[in-house]
Structure formats: structure tokens, C-alpha cells
């Protein structure tokens, strides 16, 4: 048998006040006599009353729900951490995360966004995929700012919080050149993703700036472990393999490393240096010990928190926040000698 839920009206009756007073008791900014508030909260606890957040959302036109859309949540092993940190941080701010997944095959962001907006989310965080610009504008127009993680959308009203991928690529280029590598390859991930192209850009430009002209590019077809394995076979099982590979993402580097070491018998870092990007949790494990660029997840989360805590009516529009990554020097790549 389903018991009726307790409403603010029940509490009001029991406490001998009107319903709006109960509502005000839960709002710090409303002026309620301290004694009244105390009594109401006590009665509420006794009846185990819980404000109906849905009804509140309808009334306030603000749900405290943040939509997060994640494409391929688990394949790269990077986004689970991002999701957890976002969720925890938003929870601290009194907001909740409504999670939407998008898989390359099944559903596109654009199909799902109307549904997300139907939930009246206060804002929308989108990772590893890029919505169409009409939807971005539509969402912004109805007061629901969009925040892209690790994508840029210049010229739209979407905001972006992004690791400085170009700079990350540059850092890796310097590190590899300083260590004396002669044949350097960039292993790309998803071809048209902005993370990929920016990392590549920063990397190859810096190499050329320093006079290294023949960077070879290898296209991984996806951000996945298997894609890294396959790339390793194509790249390394030849007469003249590269002596350094910069992978667009850690997960590619893991596949590449495993295949190089266990299948092809290549010594790392003696014969081959491998560098990744992300610093996923497994990268630091001795089995991989992967030199990589750490994405500043905590800082990205803070940046989003700041964007979301703007006062009503001052929602951010078209802002871009670029945060520097950091090179984590481990054992999968030769370290430049200190002279």
C-alpha cells in the first residue's frame, strides 16, 4: 500500500501556520521569525517531510538539475573521473546531475538534447561531442547555458572549459626533441574532434619551429585500446619504425605500449618512447608507467562551478576557459639529459 507523501500543507497544519510560511522556513533569504522556523523544521522532521524538488522547480523555474551529456563514457577511461568529480562538486553546490549517454552508433547529441531540455535543466555540460549550433542557440535563448568540456565552439553562444591542448602538444614536442628523438610520429584519435586536432597542431607546429620537418601522422580510428594495438602493428612492425610516438590519448598509448612490448618485443623506452595525453588512473601503474600530459580535471571542475554560480540572468555566454596541462614524466619515454 502506497502511503501519501507528506506535503508542506501537512506540515503547515501541524505547525499551525500557513503553507507559504513552511516554504519560507526552507529559504534562508526569507524572513521568518526564528521561533516559527524552528518549530516548522521540527514538525517537518517529525512527519519526515521532504520538500518536493520537482514542484519547487516548476514554481521557481529553476530545478537545480544540471544535465551532463557524455559520449562514450567508458572507452577512454578518462571521463568517469571527470563525471565523478563534477557530480561531487555540484552536489556540494546543492545541484544534481542528470546523466545522458550518447554512443557514436546509437544516438547523436542533437537527437537527445530536446529531451534533456525537457527536463528543465539549469545548464548543460557536454563532453566529447559537439552539438549542432541551432540547438546551442536555442538552449542559450531559453536561459540554459551550454558548457562544452574539451571542445571549442567559437562563434556560438556555448561556453567552453578546455585543457590547453595546443600547449600540451607543444610541451610533448619539446620533451621528445630534447631527448634526441629522430623519427617522431603522432598517433591521432578521432580525426575531426577538436581535442585531437589541437593536440596535433601544437605538436607538429612546435616540431617544425625547431626544424624537425618530417613528422609522420598515423590515424587511429577511435579513442580506444584496440585502436592503439592496431596502430602499433602498422607503425612498428616495419623496417624503419619511429623511435617516439605521441598518442592523442592515454588509452591509445596503452594499446600501443602493450602491443609493442608483449607482441612485438620492443623495449620501452630504450627503443621507443611513448607519450600519452589525459593521465588516466591506470597510466601511473607500473605496468604502464606512462609519461603523459595530465589534464587539469580539478581545475576544470572548478571553472565549471564558477560558470554555474553566476547570479541569475548573468549566465555566461560564449566564454572560453583554457587551462594548462602538465607533463607527468614517467618511464615510457626517454628523459632528456639535464645539460
Amino acid at each position: 500500500m502506497v502511503k501519501k507523501p507528506v506535503t508542506s500543507i501537512d506540515v503547515a497544519k501541524a505547525a499551525g501556520v500557513s503553507q507559504p510560511t513552511v516554504s519560507r522556513a526552507y529559504d534562508e533569504n526569507s524572513s521568518v521569525a526564528p521561533a516559527t522556523r524552528a518549530r516548522i523544521l521540527e514538525v517537518a522532521k517529525e512527519l519526515s517531510y521532504n520538500p518536493n524538488v520537482i514542484a519547487r522547480g516548476l514554481s521557481k523555474q529553476k530545478t537545480d538539475i544540471i544535465g551532463i551529456v557524455m559520449a562514450n563514457l567508458t572507452v577512454s577511461l578518462f571521463y568517469p573521473e571527470v563525471l565523478e568529480k563534477f557530480t561531487t562538486r555540484l552536489q556540494q553546490m546543492g545541484k544534481q546531475v542528470l546523466l545522458f549517454t550518447v554512443s557514436a552508433e546509437h544516438s547523436s547529441v542533437d537527437e537527445i538534447l530536446p529531451r534533456v531540455l525537457g527536463y528543465q535543466v539549469d545548464a548543460l555540460i557536454i563532453t566529447s561531442t559537439m552539438p549542432g549550433s541551432e540547438i546551442i542557440e536555442e538552449s542559450t535563448r531559453v536561459g540554459r547555458p551550454i558548457i562544452l568540456i574539451n571542445r571549442l565552439a567559437p562563434g556560438t553562444s556555448a561556453n567552453a572549459v578546455c585543457c590547453d591542448n595546443v600547449d600540451g602538444g607543444r610541451i610533448v614536442a619539446d620533451f621528445l626533441l630534447d631527448a634526441g628523438h629522430k623519427k617522431i610520429t603522432y598517433l591521432a584519435g578521432v580525426e575531426y574532434s577538436s581535442t585531437n586536432s589541437m593536440r596535433e597542431q601544437g605538436f607538429t607546429r612546435r616540431l617544425r619551429e625547431r626544424g624537425f620537418t618530417n613528422v609522420s601522422l598515423e590515424q587511429g580510428d577511435y579513442y580506444s585500446y584496440d585502436s592503439g594495438c592496431e596502430a602499433a602493428r602498422r607503425l612498428l612492425d616495419t623496417d624503419d619504425p619511429p623511435d617516439a610516438i605521441f598518442c592523442a590519448a592515454d588509452i591509445l598509448a596503452l594499446g600501443l605500449l602493450d602491443t609493442a612490448k608483449y607482441e612485438l618485443g620492443i623495449k620501452v623506452p630504450e627503443d621507443l618512447s611513448v607519450i600519452g595525453f589525459d593521465d588516466i588512473p591506470v597510466a601511473r601503474m607500473p605496468a604502464f608507467d606512462l609519461t603523459t600530459i595530465r589534464q587539469p580535471v580539478d581545475e576544470m571542475v572548478e571553472a565549471v562551478a564558477e560558470l554555474l554560480s553566476r547570479p541569475d540572468g548573468e549566465s555566461p555566454i560564449g566564454e572560453t576557459i583554457l587551462l594548462p596541462g602538465e607533463l607527468m614524466i614517467r618511464g615510457s619515454a626517454k628523459v632528456p639529459s639535464g645539460d
Copy 2:
């Protein structure tokens, strides 16, 4: 400038019908003249109308939101996959996931559950932690069934979908004995978690059944990689180390393996067999090549989907669904010879 959102009233006016008719046009079971419905849906598309799910939830007393509470989402590397699969499946069913995280240090489930219930979730999925029984009963009483993943709560009204941990332990016991191991240790995770104690129970009982009496137990203090590393040092850096270790979770096994191989120079599986539990994505990578029990995640997701698709008023109460795990034989443990 924030534009007002389009409501069913706007659509009704534009289509020359009443608001309830618009509402009915979106409900398959309501009888609306086909021509009328078509006109309404067309007008709705033109105005880019999107039903307000929040208002609908208030009116129907059903939000199509499922709360998922996850403790320590990322540490074990197991639950991200679970979360993604749940989210994707529920999305297919027209439901959405509202995500809550709980970290051992910061917040307990019981603190957060009232808040979850405030969002009027239709049901509650809880992983890797165990709510107090008062809250379970309260939630069930107001018509929000609770589904525990990988925990059992006999005697309460909570439902449970669970890998058969006892049986998994048994399978590992047989496998290790068949391979001729003489000194076998169980590396426990969180001491009082039911997953841990059931795996241990199945394992040690089976060993004793087959006449192997001195199973040693080692307490890892947490389901984490570092905990596995520390356990390795305590267990293996001795005169008489075990020749087989069954870890309560893959993540422990990874730490143990890495430390054994790279720090202590132990050969796996020649000198030591290691078996895990979960089959997390990295377990299959050659760097670990971990023999482990695969948790039947897809089946668990299906089981939950079935529980959630019961007709209104017939919500499941106190049901337990036990699903068998499967031994994934890889290279981290000696394989019994086939005689």
C-alpha cells in the same frame, strides 16, 4: 535576453484546440482524432515546443527519473561501466538517471537519500553501499522501490540484483586447487561489505570441503590499487609466500600484480597465481592479463530493467535476483592440466 519557453497552451492556441488536447496528443493511449493529433504535432514542431517533463512529473506523480547512488564511483574501475550501461538502457526505456555520489569520507548514503527522494525519483538504484533500513522502508512505503546492486538486504523491502559472489568464490577455489596450489591466500577488500564476505565465504568453504584447511586471510583496507600494492609487500616479501592469491576485486589484483612483478621480481604465474573478481576493462590488457570472475553486468542491467518495468502499483518488494559470474581464464594464474 531570455525568451519565454513555449508551453502546451501556446501550441493549443496556434492549433486552435484546448490545452488538454495538446497533452493528449502526446499520449498514445488518449483518443485524439488522427487529423487533430497530426496538426498539433506539426504546430508543436514549428514552435519547437518541448513538453515540460517537470510539470508532467508533478501532475502524473511519476517523473521517469531513476536515482542512482554510487559510492566510490571510480576507485574500483568497475562501476563506470555499470553506470554507463544502466544509463543507456534506462534511456531506451524513456527514463533518465539522476546521479548521486557518495564518498566514504564525505557523505553517507543515509544523509543523501532524503535529498534523492525529494527529486521524486521513480526508483532508486544503489551500488556498493548499504542504506539504513528505516530509509529503505520509508522509500518503499511512498512507492519508490529500492534496488541494491551487489548487496543483499534480507528481511527488508529492498530488492537486490547481485552477482553470485558465493559461487564465484567456489569456482576460483576449484580452479586453484585443480592447478595444484599448496599455499592459498584470500585478499579481502572492505571487511564488512557483503560482496567481500560472500566471495570469501564461497572460497574458503569450498577449499575446506576439498580438504584444504589452512587458508590464510589477508585484509586489504580498501578496494583500491594501492591497497593491493601494500598487501603484496606484506604477503610476498617473506620466507614462505603463498603460491596463489584470490583477490576480492580486480583493482586489488592489479596492485598486487604490479608490485609482485616489478618491485619484488616475482614471476607470474610461474611462482604466483593471482585471480581477481569483476573483470574490469583493463584486466584483459596484456600488461595484466588477469584471470578473473566476470560479473554479468549486461544481465544485471536487464534484471533491473525488468524490475523497473513492472506495472504501476506492482513495484517489486524484497525480491532478490542472483546471477552467475563466469571465470575468465587468462595468464595470471596457472591453468589446471586437463587430466
